[in-house]
């Protein structure tokens, strides 16, 4: 941004430039506003949309839980269960019976920043979900990186060098690794790790040496990155985008200029697709994380979700659903922002 300021100063005296800056019609101000306004607007819009969506998500989850047979309280009684006992427990926990009553209580609590406590452990849902979310985020972000690291070379190579004999095998390779059952892959990974490298990949919390932790991080991340089923889609999408962009006329112009086509094609051909992929694949990785966390004993959202789903621990389920939705919206927000920064036209569409 500073460069613009400087250009302004090159040609105009300070007074003039100030005048220009104050003049709302000046192209400079317009340019700034065109740049800044849509950003702010996008953020606000995304936030409002996110709110509406979070509301929707909670409504859906709540309705599913409400409509489901059985209830979460029997869990606390472990076997000693009868209709009246359940009633008692429900009352002692302050649950009303009607759908609306339950939901509105929950909603009001949320508005006070209270996600409630887990029925199973009695712990604060908020704290648990936050720490689990951070763990899962580590896992999924790293796994996404792995996916991209695998998919990028394949996509770029096959779209740029379209005529090589490696093209088919590479594509099929991408498809094959997307078609393997994730947990089976994880088992194989562990088997190979233990039997071939004589190394146990699960160390989290087991008190092994510090410098090994990165290694213990690696296998789950690798497995999720490979097996989440998204490599093929990423390759497909990137290939499409790259070859589309390489055929754009402005790339031809860049060539004619003698400039690097990658410099010109980077924004539309790589940056935007990447941010779009990352944002749209977040749900997939979160889904895959359930499996990987289960196998690798990773203390994240996925494990928590699985446990909670089994226990009907509804405050926890709601908390996780919201957290997941927030992650998804966050991804979408970041993508929108990148899109606007990269593509100023967007604000005019």
């Amino acid at each position: 941004m500073n460069t613009h300021q400087q250009t302004g100063d090159t040609w105009l005296s300070p007074v003039q430039s100030l005048a220009h800056k104050l003049n709302l019609d000046s192209p400079w101000v317009k340019h700034k506003l065109d740049f800044v306004m849509p950003m702010g607007v996008t953020i606000i819009r995304e936030l409002l949309l996110a709110l509406a969506l979070l509301f929707g998500v909670s409504l859906v989850v709540f309705t599913i839980l409400y409509a489901a047979p059985g209830d979460s309280f029997s869990l606390l009684l472990s076997g000693e269960r009868s209709a009246s006992a359940t009633e008692e427990v429900a009352q002692s926990l302050g649950f009303s019976n009607s759908w609306f009553g339950q939901y509105s209580t929950w909603l009001i609590n949320i508005l006070h920043g209270d996600l409630g406590t887990s029925i199973r452990t009695g712990q604060s849902v908020f704290e648990n979900v936050v720490s689990a979310t951070i763990n899962t985020l580590n896992l999924t972000l790293a796994a996404m990186l792995v996916t991209l690291i695998i998919a990028y070379p394949i996509a770029i190579y096959t779209s740029v060098r379209s005529a090589t004999p490696l093209n088919g095998p590479l594509t099929i390779f991408a498809y094959v690794i997307s078609a393997l059952p994730l947990f089976w892959l994880a088992y194989i990974g562990i088997f190979v790790s233990t039997n071939v490298f004589d190394y146990f990949p699960l160390g989290i919390g087991l008190g092994v040496e510090d410098d090994m932790e990165i290694m213990q991080f690696l296998l789950p991340v690798l497995i999720l990155g490979i097996g989440s089923g998204t490599v093929s889609e990423v390759v497909r999408f990137l290939k499409l985008e790259i070859s589309r962009v390489l055929e754009e006329e402005y790339i031809r112009t860049a060539k004619a200029k003698g400039a690097s086509i990658w410099r010109h094609g980077f924004k539309e051909g790589l940056l935007l697709p990447t941010s779009q992929i990352i944002s749209s694949k977040i749900p997939f990785f979160l889904g895959g994380a359930i499996i990987v966390e289960q196998v690798f004993n990773w203390p994240g959202m996925g494990r928590m979700a699985w446990q909670a789903a089994q226990d009907r621990d509804f405050p926890v389920i709601m908390g996780i659903a919201l957290a997941a939705a927030i992650l998804v919206r966050l991804g979408s927000l970041v993508h929108r922002m990148i899109y606007i920064i990269v593509n100023p036209r967007a604000s005019h569409e």
Partner: protein
Amino acid sequence: SAAKRDSGSLAYGEYGRPATLDPITSNDMISLRITELLFNGLVGINEKQEIVPELAASWSSDEEGKYYTFKLRQDVKWHPKEGKEAEVFDADDVVATYKIMMHAKTITPLKVRYEFIESVKKIDNYTVEFTLKRPVLNALAKFTFKIIPKHGPANPVYLNREDPFVQYPIGTGPFRLKEVTADREVIMEANPDYFKGKPKVKEFIAKPFADQNIMNQALTFNAIDMIVLVNPRHIPELQGDKRFILQPYNALSYSFFGYNVRNPLLADKRVRRALTLAINREEMLSSFFNGQGTVISGPFAPGSWAYNLDVKPEPYDKSRAVELLKEAGFVEGANGMMEKDGQALNLSLKVPIAKESEAIKRVVLAFKGYLKKVGVQVEVQFMEWQAWKEAVFEQHQFDVVFASWVFDDSADISSLFHSAEVGAWKNNFGGYENEKVDSLIVESKLTLDHEKRRTIYRKLHAVLADEAPYTFLWTLTNYSAYHNKLRKVAIHPYKFFSFADSWFISGGK
């Protein structure tokens, strides 16, 4: 959030995470095992199944068995709260524990078990007196419940799961809670002030696993030192590994197929007996559980006083089963299936999905396979746990269930087969009614004499084996596997860690 452990510590693997860590609200086995390390009861049970003093130094009761007076130890201290002096254990704690446990707002499965107590009274600082509603057989054994400190819960009146105490409990036991990690890894350190002397293992770490195969791998890779309950399929592998010791302990439970006698076809005891004869329990036991268990013929543990060793489990006899079915009026239908009055013997078998369901699956599928051979069709239906409970206990919509009962130390089976226990959410879910059984149960309840009861129970056992309201299967031998550096390991069959204060690790620094 990795916990560091030194060689003096013992990490053991659990399948699943504990919910709460206090002895009152906890209701899963994992929590139960942990509370065993953290807490003590008034009395305990030793390796020979005898009642021994714990927090109570001595006790006495009146003739009739209505009043029990406990003299408490005076040298017991609670685990210190952070930054505070350790408090002394006294009679108030016992009274408080009882009151909290029985309070209406406390949600605990224990309440039902202690309804026989009418009140508790503090006599002096180190003496308490329990008054029972009625004399109870073997009452002393029930005073094993764990005592919590009155200053423990934030709320002194009742305990719910939102109380911080349930996650950060204070006990008197050999170990005290050091840390619970985000993954609910529970780290307990030796209590230096333990009244029986400082335990030798420095640290216990309960490590939750979500996958049993991985847990087993973790053991073989020394990532953990012990698995409290080994999956049968891993036994051969561990048996072959010199580093590990596989220690058997009796599971105090038995498995069975229970029949719904509301189904007119199953109301005939010949049919139920035929079904029992048609399955090869020995084969299943040896194929699926490596033979680690005992086939039973009645609703008791084979080693217990109530078990009638004279009633032998009936051996697999396919032809006899077919005969019985024919006696009951069945004929072989067109496709080899048994029919009665044109109605095929087609049973729905409802099974809950347990967390680790493989063994269950195998048994159930084998059951289906065996019965097919005698012309009985079984439709297996796996159901989510809650839904299963509703179908079985409330709506009684099933023909057969596969389940197991935990074997209570009082061997009270009255709720299972008495006709008064038929109804929604009652334990006699099969609707089984038999006058003889009813009268025997009532008779047993009226007596406090152990020998008399034993005779009645042996009769009951014989009747039930003949009547076959259930097809009794087996009690399994559970195995714990641990690294051979761990010594002097004694295991309580149910509570597991009862004797952990005397375990030690060889070579530990």
